[in-house]
Amino acid sequence: MGNNTKQKLTVSASEAVANLRKLYPAVPRAAVILGSGVNVLEGLLNPIVVKYADLFGLAPSVAGHSGTLTIGRLGQGADDPLVAVLRGRFHLYEGYDWETVTLATRVLIEWGVPNLLVTNAAGGLNLQFNVGDLMVLNGYRDHLSPQWQERGLLPAVMVEPTDCSNDLTAKLLATGAKLSSDDSRFKPLQKGVYAGLLGPSYETMAEVDMLRRLKCDAVGMSTVPELLTCLGTGTTAAAVSVITNVWKPDEVMGGHEEVLEASKAASRRLDQLFRRTLNEI
């Protein structure tokens, strides 16, 4: 509802970029935006950590998001890539407007970061998926952007999913295939279409069935703003979903321990996938 909208931004993308340039002389080769519960790329070399509150004038309020941007090298070599890791994001369901939700991505674009990897935790719709699978997005559905608040979702559901495959998604998939062939413990990557819903309530079973009819493989409440914002810019974006549950009608859901373990294993594989990919781009 309109009166629940959070405070407006006080920092522009240009101001945030100017601050980042003061903090760090070089532009990272890639940035990574991490969703809740996804822990990868810890231990960057000589890191500089900036709090979102200091950089953007706002901090995310959802548990599991630390709200920091870390800049550092992946390894000790002079050729090792410089990366920026953003932990946490602003969501539309919290009442933030589009400008706020896309601020971090707009900053990365204006800073000149050429590659962006986005992660999220998502519910699995594809019945071939399992908890802990990693899905590289080759398409998405936008069911969350503010235009639908004015018109409803009918125009959004009547179109095909948007293809988002590009050089970076191809690189992720190729790297994943190599990791799987080198080590049988590395579960093969999935690929599929992500449905970005507004939330914050979860899907009804009728909505799960609808999203399957609309060719979606996973569902969550983020990522689509970042992908839309990168369209037509110098930043190439790719996204990976960590599948945290699978909507199956007749199956007892795994206990919390099992889900936690699967998420941890998924984070380890995602870490390998990102390190190898970032070293090769």
Binding site: G95, G152, S201, T204, M205, E207
Partner: protein, 179 residues
């Protein structure tokens, strides 16, 4: 579950025994969040897009409104990410031995439908209506879905009734909903 203390909301203007609301909004949210003995909200909304003029019990919904009434800071009455599955009551779930055996189960004779919740003011074209049906919904309405989401967040179950223009509820059904 007992319907005795249910919060009863009518958006059709036809069921005068219920609280009358013109549209979903702040007063509906307040009513659903007010503490009391209610376990259930009974919501009657106007049904559109049907080929017949039969009232339906709602079994589930598609939120196609593009919005969600819980957007914004979370109200402490419920979870940040509420699960909204199995919120709509089956007719049999409304049978309470003490209250209702004498009435039989008139709700059980009603047919079920999945409702699509549309954005207020949006009237679907024929092609859009066909697509709504293809997505699994038999009818559409404007107030039921946001009302259900707020009710579920507040810990209530929902009896959803979709009433097409020109139709009315049979007296035994109304008596069951009012008991």
């Amino acid at each position: 579950m007992k319907l005795r203390y249910a919060k009863r909301i009518d958006f059709t203007g036809q069921v005068k025994e219920f609280a009358q609301e013109a549209a979903f909004g702040e007063s509906v949210i307040k009513m659903l969040r007010d503490k009391g003995k209610a376990e259930v909200a009974i919501v009657i909304d106007r049904a559109y897009g049907l080929k017949d003029d039969t009232p339906y019990l709602i079994s589930d919904h598609l939120n196609l409104s593009g919005n969600n009434p819980l957007v914004g800071p979370n109200d402490a009455i419920g979870q940040r990410f509420p699960v909204v599955n199995n919120i709509y009551l089956d007719a049999n779930d409304t049978m309470d031995q003490e209250e209702t055996w004498s009435l039989g189960n008139p709700l059980g004779k009603m047919q079920y439908a999945i409702a699509a919740g549309l954005h207020p003011g949006v009237t679907p074209t024929d092609a859009e209506l066909e697509f709504i049906h293809k997505l699994g919904a038999k009818l559409y309405c404007y107030n039921l879905v946001p009302t259900m989401i707020v009710a579920a967040h507040a810990g209530l179950k929902v009896v959803g009734v979709a009433l097409p223009e020109g139709a009315s509820l049979r007296p035994d059904i109304l008596a069951t909903l009012l008991r």
